[in-house]
Every structure is written in structure tokens, then in C-alpha cells.
């Protein structure tokens, strides 16, 4: 099959999931799976009034594209795209979007899930939460590493 159409974008401005999804649909797309992440506001002492996102210009875009390329090697994808925001975001705002289109739903679900797991554990982004008690860097979560470890082989992931 033809090579998948891949796109990775890092930006400060917000995005429109509906418009991003339309770009993924090709004549053979039977299944489109999307993930949209939103900034969570927390509550009480953990309240987040603002989330600040730092990244590594150059390496971050390259890393995102490599994750998409890895996904397109593991599953027969038609298109895959990621948009990740940086800068200062308010609770509720969309922060990340991943979309995958494929002929069938199995590979679209698996690839979208895989891309998010690797984005969380490989792509150089760092979150700092601002709240009533000041600002603090978000710690990496062991659960994210465990989720990413599910994809040891293409056969496991495609199951």
C-alpha cells in the first residue's frame, strides 16, 4: 500500500478537532480514531489555574514524527497526525490531538493508543502546573511507562 500521510505539529494556538479529522479521511478510510487531551483543573490544594508547557524545538517535532512512522510500520495506516500545544494553557483547553485513519478499526484504535503512549513517554515536553500554592513541575508517571511497555512487539499491540 502507499505510504501513510503523516503530520506532526507543535503550536501555541488552539486547534479544531473536527477540522483536523477531516484532513485524515482518504477514499479508503473505513475507520478514523481520534484522541483529544484537555487540561485538567484539579481541585482543592491540587487546583491548577494554568498549565505551562515547555518543549525542545526541533527534537520534539522529530520525535513526534518518529512515533508516527513507528506506528505506520506496525499497522497499515492511511494517515496519522498529531498536534501538541505549548505555552500557557487554562483548565479545559485542548492540549493534544492524535488522529489515525485506516481501512479497519482494529489498527486505527491500536495505532492511536500506541501513539499517545509513546508521545507521553518519549516526546520532549514538560508540564508545569501553576496553582494557589505556587508552581511545580509535573512528575513522570510510572503508569505511563507501563502503558508504553505494552507495545513490545507489533503482534502484541495488534491483538
Amino acid at each position: 500500500m502507499a505510504a501513510a500521510i503523516l503530520s506532526a505539529q507543535v503550536q501555541e494556538q488552539t486547534f479544531d478537532p473536527g477540522a483536523l479529522q477531516q484532513v485524515l479521511v482518504t477514499a479508503d478510510s473505513g475507520a478514523v480514531v481520534t484522541f483529544t487531551g484537555h487540561v485538567r483543573g484539579g481541585a482543592g490544594e491540587a487546583e491548577v489555574t494554568c498549565l505551562e508547557l515547555e518543549y525542545y524545538p526541533g527534537m520534539t517535532e522529530r520525535s513526534l514524527l518518529e512515533i508516527l512512522e513507528d506506528a505506520a510500520t506496525r499497522w497499515p495506516l492511511l494517515a496519522a497526525a498529531v498536534v501538541h500545544r505549548v505555552g500557557r494553557l487554562a483548565p479545559g483547553e485542548p492540549i493534544v490531538w492524535v488522529g489515525v485513519s485506516a481501512a479497519h478499526r482494529g489498527e486505527a484504535f491500536a495505532a492511536c493508543d500506541f501513539i499517545m503512549d509513546f508521545l507521553k513517554t518519549r516526546a520532549p515536553f514538560w508540564k508545569k502546573e501553576h496553582g494557589p500554592a505556587g508552581a511545580s513541575w509535573v512528575a513522570a508517571r510510572a503508569g505511563d511507562d507501563e502503558r508504553a511497555a505494552r507495545w513490545q512487539s507489533p503482534a502484541d499491540g495488534a491483538g
Binding site: Y56, P124, F125, W126, K127
Partner: protein
Amino acid sequence: MLRVLFFARVREQLGCDSLELPWSTGHATVEALLSSLQQRGPNWQAALGQPNLVVAVNQQIADSAARLQAGDEVAFFPPVTGG
């Protein structure tokens, strides 16, 4: 020259986001570069001595044994937390 970058908490701890160093035999590996940088003071020793410090050479994840050449870009940062 070597271009050295710091991100996120590491950047804040050092009060420095980037610096340029002449390449030398004392900076021939990531490990040697780290030792040299840690001489700069207690905050450098602490920030660059963290066990979960991540290093990238020319925008690819590397380990401390990676060899460095003049013109390389080396980055130090904490574990990533995007998404």
C-alpha cells in the same frame, strides 16, 4: 564547539538554558562533559547528578557513554511529561 541545552526543571535549577563550550578531549563523551559541568558549583552538581536525568545528542536520546564531536548539540532534561 559543543552546544549544550537544558530544559524544564534542570534549566531552572541551573538558571541557564544553553551554553557553548569548546570541544576538547575533556568533553569527548557525555560522561566527561557531565563531570566537567558539575564542577561549576553545587547547583550544577545537584541538577546534573539526578539519577533520572535524560540526555540527547543531536536530538536523539543517548547514554552517558556516547562520544561527542565538535559541532554536536547535547541536551540535558528531566523525564518527559507531555500529552
